[in-house]
Amino acid sequence: MTQKEWPLWEVFIRSKQGLDHKHVGSLHAADAEMAIQNARDVYTRRLEGVSIWVVESTNVHASNPDDAAAFYEPANDKIYRHPTFYQVPDSIKHM
């Protein structure tokens, strides 16, 4: 029997030139090269991508959802960061 699982990799795909890579899922592979080849077979069978990134899952560090309220709170009361906060006279164009 096998003793050890192949490591888990997170897969990111750029669907076309000009767009960001987007997370699509994960897969197991022995190394990065195999992860990219497997990602091609698993996630791009219908031309879903023109570029693939793979990152070993253990290297992904994430924010904690339990802290979300406090963590994103500073953005809450700064409505002046949005253009709609400002009143522009009707006669002013191109702003």
């Binding site: 029997m1 096998t2 003793q3 888990l8 899922g25 994960s26 195999m34 069978r45 219908r46 959802p65």
Partner: protein, 316 residues
């Protein structure tokens, strides 16, 4: 402590009720996690085992076109299994453990794949009926409450409609062919119709987990609701093909705007679930054999990766 736990659970349910998706690192009740792992891994196992009945016909497909299509379809099933295993892993399940549970018989997969594929028409029936039923089951799961599962299902559903169409095309070609070909199509429908109706699971009255799953929005429709939808959808398609649905009790019910249909043979259903179907042993054996015969490849790839890593470390 206990009140805190209760609040957490209430908050969780409130998010579900507001249709907010649950993501991997969010707090969730243990039972929610367990139910999902069981359902998603069963689903993944079904995709994996589902490759076998069709793989059976790849070398005997009647033309190069049909062979290419069948290969692509079977490859899709493998892909669907992988999307789903990866979704289950976000809940903390390990891939090796899930496979071990499949191989030991502890985990279940869809009973439909324990029926044999005896003729080419069966490739039509599997695509048209079995994938048709799968789509009905799966489309609501694109809105299931657990984010990674829902996203995997969106991917699966996009690919599944090709599967159903190619199956229908096989049936249509047979039905427009010689009398022998048409008879083969009818014979296929006769064998697959009832097992397909069983795919939606036991009657609502005998499905104790349904209420909780609906409450958690893991499930969006009951088994009987989906079964009814399926019959209403498929009967006109069978009529188009000129085939007869093998159910003497099938009758249009004007009042409910749907078909009345006969009762599934539940004894057969439970018998196959318990492992006594025609192909249960053969299917599991094929999976275990493939896994064992691939062991050296998995080990060699790991050893190779390890060696390369060491070499790179020395060179650096």
């Amino acid at each position: 402590m206990e009140t805190l736990e209760l609040t957490q659970e209430e908050q969780f349910q409130a998010r579900i009720d507001a249709d907010v998706r649950i993501e991997p690192k969010d707090w969730m009740p243990d039972a929610y996690r367990k139910t999902l792992i069981r359902q998603i891994s069963q689903h993944a196992h079904s995709e994996l085992v589902g490759m076998l009945p069709e793989g059976n016909w790849i070398t005997r497909a009647p033309s190069l076109k049909r062979k290419s299509i069948l290969l692509a379809k079977v490859q899709d099933e493998a892909g669907h299994g992988l999307y789903l295993y990866s979704a289950a892993e976000t809940l903390g399940a390990s891939r090796d453990q899930m496979l071990a549970d499949l191989h030991s018989g502890k985990a279940k997969y869809s009973s439909i794949f324990n029926y044999p594929t005896l003729s080419w028409a069966d490739m039509g029936c599997v695509g048209w009926l079995v994938d048709g039923a799968a789509i009905l089951n799966q489309v609501p799961l694109c809105r299931t409450s657990y984010g990674p599962y829902a996203r995997a299902m969106v991917r699966v559903c996009k690919e599944e409609s090709f599967h159903q169409r190619q199956g229908f095309e096989i049936m249509q070609t047979l039905c427009e062919g010689s009398p022998e070909q048409k008879a083969m199509a009818q014979e296929g429908l006769n064998r697959w119709w009832w097992p397909t109706l069983m795919m939606f699971g036991p009657k609502d009255s005998e499905s104790p987990n349904t209420a909780q799953s609906m409450n958690w929005r893991i499930k969006r429709f009951t088994n009987d609701e989906l079964r009814q939808k399926f019959v209403d959808m498929m009967v006109p398609q069978a009529e188009f093909l000129g085939l007869t649905v093998p159910d003497p009790n099938l009758k249009w019910n004007e009042a409910k705007q749907g078909y009345d249909f006969g009762d599934v043979d539940w004894e057969e259903f439970w018998n196959v679930v318990k492992g006594n179907g025609m192909c249960n042993k053969e299917r599991l054996q094929a999976r275990v054999q493939a896994h064992e015969e691939g062991a050296w490849v998995r080990e060699a790839a790991l050893a190779h990766a390890e060696k390369r890593k060491q070499r790179e470390a020395v060179a650096a």
